[in-house]
């Protein structure tokens, strides 16, 4: 097994609903989706966003899109116009999630580390 940063396996977009941020995480290839489902759990995402997100994290699966959707509650200093944050809408939480490191088998690690990064 080897560690790989999510940015090698997936892209993402994030937005807001009140004080909740959502992060959509999308596998670059269909075969990466199962890895995301196994490794990028709600609990791991909650731990990853420690100090940023102060509430619960929910995860939804969209196998048809090879994507996961995360809801990060209490993450935007009240959200909307209340928030004092630069990123009051959580628009950059997409790539904050892509910083996460996950465990993949050596073959997949070689594949994503050798190919030119998609980003």
């Amino acid at each position: 097994m080897a560690k790989v940063q999510l940015v090698k396996l997936a892209h993402a977009r994030s937005g807001d609903k009140g004080d909740t941020a959502n992060v959509g995480l999308i596998a670059y290839k269909p075969e990466y989706y199962a890895v995301l489902v196994e490794q990028v759990t709600a609990a791991r995402v909650k731990a990853h966003f420690k100090g940023i997100s102060h509430g619960e994290v929910e995860r939804y699966e969209l196998p048809n899109l090879g994507a996961l959707n995360f809801l990060l509650h209490q993450s935007l200093d009240g959200g909307g116009t209340l928030s004092l944050k630069t990123d009051a809408q959580g628009k950059t939480y997409s790539t904050a999630l892509l910083r996460m490191e996950i465990e993949v088998d050596d073959e997949l690690a070689r594949e994503v580390n050798s190919s030119a990064s998609s980003l």
């Binding site: 937005g15 959502n22 899109l65 959707n69 004092l84 950059t92």
Partner: protein, 454 residues
């Protein structure tokens, strides 16, 4: 198979002024839809109407219509927009003035969808036990009733379709959902039944895909972002909708940007909650049923979409006054830029404390270090060239916020060294207009529709 082409020309009030005009002029379309409303917009418009009963709508819309009116009439292009804000009647009157002035009087019909503004009915609702509880906190609206600035029900695509059925060429809506603006034309063209949930879900998802304008055509797109061609001339999205609920998302030929399955997936997940249950006034759409296929350059086909019955409530968007805030910043340069910015923050906070000012919240961010990704950003380089110290406060006490705004500039002379970036003057004190989401039984409100000749 019949196809209608529904274009989006505005993702929010403040989006590109050129986009709607380009959508009309650079290729064939049947409908132009424009989304002008966000939660905060309604309260701004409510204030404008309080000052002048002929205001309270998106004035940009009227100026834009003036420019494209000849194209609309010549090519029978229809326009659907929630530009009516809190005063769709006044918006219609302004459009009629423009049409008559340009010699198009008697040549087109204009519809409005109103009835969404329930500001005057709130006390009646509350007295009858319609509590309008906050969807996030469960608190009844009575708790903040005197602070309410605006209250509007979200209607869906159905009243839009009724306006089109009655011959409306320009349909001006109040608080109609972003997705309803695009779904309405499909219901009208294909006479989709009120209970064909799969078709309504398909139209809703088509609307969701284009409601943020160029965010599905390569704008704000992370995948291969540096190779996306010609963002300066980015094409806005167009739905090619069929009567069986399948559709293709595309853009005019020759425009910049890129539409791929990947760019579409990013937009589908934007502001997504539970993807199994995307609730609108028209239906509950299931995003886990969408099948995507690249069917050509800048063409993505959607199929397989399933929906479920609509709920018995409308969502209500209520805005209310929630205090005051201000945000100021200063820029610190090398060497020790990070430590200087941190020191400035400490000094400023100590002064605020000595002044006896109390705030509900004080937030400092060091822009260039960790404002976006917080603790995930890691330690900055000791050689970092510059750091912006950005500090904001929030309070119910306007005077405290005003006093805060006078404490930033002095730091340039009496704080840590090598500092600049104060040329903008004192930060602005802003009133906070917060958002109160609630539900209301559908039996309590009816859309009010009218269509008249210009």
């Amino acid at each position: 198979m019949k196809t209608i082409r529904i274009a989006n020309g505005q993702g929010f009030w403040g989006d590109s002024l050129e986009a709607p005009i380009e959508q009309v002029r650079r290729g064939p379309i049947d409908y132009l839809t424009l989304d002008y409303l966000a939660e905060i917009t309604m309260s701004i418009m409510q204030k404008q109407r309080a000052r002048d009963s002929r205001q309270g709508y998106a004035r940009d819309f009227v100026a834009m219509i003036e420019q494209i009116l000849p194209d609309l009439v010549d090519r029978n292009i229809k326009v659907v927009a929630n530009a009516g804000g809190v005063n769709p009647q006044a918006c219609r009157d302004a459009v009629i003035d423009v049409a008559r002035h340009a010699g198009f009087g008697g040549r087109l019909r204009i519809g409005i969808v109103a009835g969404d503004d329930i500001m005057q009915r709130l006390d009646d609702f509350i007295s009858r036990g319609v509590e309008l509880k906050n969807l996030d906190t469960g608190e009844p609206l009575a708790a903040i009733r005197p602070l309410v600035q605006s209250a509007n029900v979200y209607f869906g695509g159905r009243p839009v379709a009724e306006c089109l059925d009655q011959g409306g060429q320009i349909v001006i809506c109040g608080r109609v959902t972003d997705t309803g603006l695009s779904l309405g034309p499909m219901i009208h063209e294909y006479q989709w039944p009120v209970n064909d949930w799969d078709l309504l879900a398909a139209g809703t998802i088509a609307g969701h895909t284009i409601e943020c304008g160029a965010q599905c055509t390569g704008g704000n797109c992370l995948v291969d972002w540096e190779t996306i061609p010609n963002l300066a001339d980015i094409g806005y999205p167009i739905i090619e909708a069929h009567d069986d609920g399948t559709f293709v998302i595309t853009k005019h030929q020759g425009t910049g940007g890129r539409i791929t399955v990947a760019s579409i997936k990013e937009q589908l997940l934007y502001e997504m909650g539970d993807p199994h249950a995307y609730i609108t006034p028209d239906c509950v759409a299931d995003f886990t049923t969408i099948q995507l296929e690249q069917v050509g350059a800048d063409r993505v086909r959607f199929s397989g979409i399933k929906g479920r019955p609509a709920t018995d409530s409308f969502k209500v968007s209520i805005s209310y006054s929630a205090g005051w805030k201000a945000v100021g910043s200063l820029v610190y340069a090398w060497p020790d830029a990070y430590r200087k910015a941190q020191a400035a923050d400490r000094v400023l906070r100590e002064r605020l404390e000595r002044l006896g000012l109390t705030f509900d919240s004080v937030l400092t961010e060091l822009v260039g270090v960790d404002a976006c990704h917080g603790p995930l950003s890691g330690e900055p380089s000791p050689d970092i060239a510059e750091v912006t110290m950005r500090i904001g406060v929030r309070s119910q006490d306007k005077k405290a916020v005003e006093r805060f705004t006078r404490e930033i500039a002095p730091l340039v002379l009496n704080g840590p060294p090598t500092v600049t970036g104060f040329a903008g003057g004192r930060p602005k004190v802003e009133e906070i207009i917060a958002y109160w989401p609630a539900l209301i039984p559908k039996s309590e409100v009816e859309p009010e529709i009218s269509v008249i000749e210009a």
